[in-house]
Subunit: 431 residues, 2 copies
């Protein structure tokens, strides 16, 4: 039996999950693949503690010794962040080792150097664990859909925010309470800013887009909006209209121009992603040959993510050349100017309760070529009137300009809320 020696760098949630996975399932993996996967060395800054929790494995706190070890075939990098993760991966690749990583932040923000090392013919790189936890979505995209041109990707890519939005949607739980509940259940980190503000979803949609469109994407150019401003009021109004609000990563390609973004999105109840609840993630690839393909599952957690790491280890051990082929073949992506995007919008404002206001607002929309599909005026608040507009498709530039003007009217109370709408229901569209 072929033996594959692993150098595991980082023994946190996912690292210890991989250790346990191999303890439990090595036999079945060997039977299926003919490969005996053995963790030779674990590297962690808490080396002494790791020693206590493991057996038969060398433990060190010096990553350089792991990368230099000629007997190690594959380095698994699970420490996250930029350095020393980047140096670990680059050095391991250059020494011809396979590398498996869950480091979406590094690859999304500074992947160019790593992708270059790969196309220079260095080792193989597995990134399944970067996106969607236990969902084999990178495999599906890189291998299963390799014969397709990808038209669009839409994904619920962050479990924390999906858990919070589900609680708000289904239990009328305000944002702060839903966030606390997510923390209590272990679905939110102590500091959840990175998830709530959409950056985690941003890293993931950036990576998926690079694979799908074969172009590099500058992470800083991706418009990212989180969910902290989503109120119960908007959840309820959306629900009344047959929509749910989901934090989505979206990337669409048309004539070589890529529209990539992360923002709260209103999707109709019939949309296949609308029923993805709690901490689950789901990714829809709309492709020219297959039409939509949707993958759903747990997007995080020790065991699901370890399952993804293991899948990459096996693929690399089996010498799949696809793990050596460059992800980015076509240089930098040309992103759409955000203002040129054409979408439908949900707008909520609050105004004084007196005649003539609606006509003034409608006038501003009209001047900016924004056509209104419906207006709802809700029960009168003692101090102001909530007005909800659903627009037809309009250019975002005009939309934002109109809202800046509307904001300045003296009859306005509080903020203007804008939520983008994606109406196409993809798979299972009504006949």
């Amino acid at each position: 039996m072929k033996k594959i020696s692993i150098g595991l760098i980082g023994f946190g949630t996912v690292g210890s999950g991989l250790y346990r996975l191999l303890e439990k399932n090595s036999d079945i993996i060997a039977k299926r693949t003919g490969i005996d996967i053995v963790i030779k060395t674990i590297c962690d800054i808490r080396a002494e503690q790791v020693k206590k929790n493991t057996a038969g494995v060398a433990v060190t706190d010096d990553w350089k010794s792991v990368v230099a070890d000629k007997d190690i075939d594959i380095v698994v990098e699970l420490i996250g962040n930029i350095e020393p993760a980047k140096s670990i991966i680059l050095n391991a690749l250059k020494s011809g080792k396979g590398v498996v990583t869950a480091n979406k932040k590094l690859l999304a923000e500074e992947g160019a150097d790593i992708f270059k090392a790969m196309s220079d013919g260095a080792g193989r790189l597995g990134i399944e664990a970067c996106v969607g936890g236990g969902i084999p979505c990178v495999l599906a995209l890189r291998h299963g859909l390799v014969g397709n041109r990808v038209n669009s990707i839409m994904g619920i890519l962050n479990g924390t925010t999906n858990y919070i939005l589900t609680r708000m949607q289904e239990n009328d739980m305000p944002f702060a309470e839903a966030l606390q509940d997510a923390r209590d259940k272990g679905f939110a980190e102590a500091d959840p800013t990175f998830d709530i503000d959409g950056y985690d979803a941003g890293h993931k949609i950036a990576l998926l887009s690079m694979i799908a469109f074969n172009k590099s994407i500058r992470f800083k150019e991706i418009p990212i909006e989180g969910i902290a401003h989503i109120s119960m009021m908007d959840i309820i109004y959306a629900r009344d209209m047959g929509y749910v609000i989901k934090l989505m990563g979206i990337a669409k390609e048309s004539d070589g121009i890529i529209d990539i973004r992360v923002h709260p999105t209103m999707i109709p109840n019939e949309h296949p992603l609308a029923s993805v609840r709690y901490e689950y993630n789901s990714i829809m690839f709309d492709c020219d040959m297959t039409d939509p393909v949707i993958l759903t599952g747990r997007g995080a957690g020790a065991s699901p993510t370890a399952s993804a790491v293991l899948a990459d280890i096996v693929q690399i051990a089996l010498q799949d050349e696809a793990y050596q082929s460059p992800l980015v073949t076509d240089g930098a992506a040309c992103l759409i100017e955000p203002g040129k995007r054409i979408l439908r919008y949900y707008i909520r404002i609050q105004t004084d309760d007196r005649p003539g206001i609606l006509s003034q607002i409608a006038g501003v929309f009209g001047k900016h070529d924004i056509s209104i599909s419906s207006v709802i005026q809700k029960e009168v608040h003692p101090e102001y009137v909530p007005l909800i507009f659903m627009t037809h498709e309009a250019e975002e530039e005009g939309m934002l300009r109109a809202l800046r003007i509307i904001k300045e009217f003296d009859f306005m109370h509080g903020d203007v809320i804008l939520i983008r709408v994606e109406d196409s229901t993809g798979a299972g569209e009504k006949k």
Copy 2:
């Protein structure tokens, strides 16, 4: 660039779909994989007609010359049925060629010889196109979830029947009308018996189970029930109780015993497969590491299935050793005795309208250890009373014995309808 020569045997829907896919997307495939895929020879009994519709390709009606051609790397078998497909595949494998097939019937019913040829170290075999059309579900199972023990598989595996049931469910269209509509829309074959009676779904769940559990399964031992007896009445009663009826392939493993079956199944509206509509397919793998992973997409059609064939071609061309490793490592599966299955049941009967009947029926259920969870007596039909029972979990043996006794009562009208219930909603279970 590495060139891969294809011998394409069978130029029907999928074969011509593959030809068009390569015409359209060869450039992007080459860029992503470094492989130039070229159809060298097409073999079809309608060779003259194929010649008219293709260019730059040799056309023959002699499959032996294709399999014997030393310049052909991969044989794609798309003619279906047992012979000569089986001889084609065995000969191609023995001569060390890669083989890609969409022939689920052959593999499910007579796969043993083919799997043996593979474990004798012959060529590589790709079977993605056998299940789920454009959904990369075999890839997900064989590779993406390779580190998992699979607890269960539940799938909507046949587009024709899912289209019909969706029409019945959402448009109150009786079975015969829904079937005609499916034919009109191209979602049902001229003779749809094979789909309607559940055999197509049976082949697919057999194949998925072999991969998941690494055991061979005798197709003839799988209990298979189709949808021809599902009436609007049952669709409506199920809907009233918050369920939908789907034709499902199900396989569950517990302590080495496999419960595999195909039958109409009542699943709650919240179940992730309940929202899979029309001709779409969906497969849920419940695994020990990942928990449920669900894949959804088009389960048939020229382009989606060609996409699956292409994915296998690329994987084999990239020398993935997993495509050579045996699917079945553990010999024959031990199937559950159907009578020992423990499930919930929906039972509909029709009786005279007179006192004492309910107590007689309840008495029979009680004697067979079947506990009733709810009884619904619907509005009185002029000639009889429809009675619907939902049971708690019960052994199927006792259930069937009770129904045989009940059938013989003189107050009974017409058939006894039994529909199995699967209540667990898997992913997104209510917290």
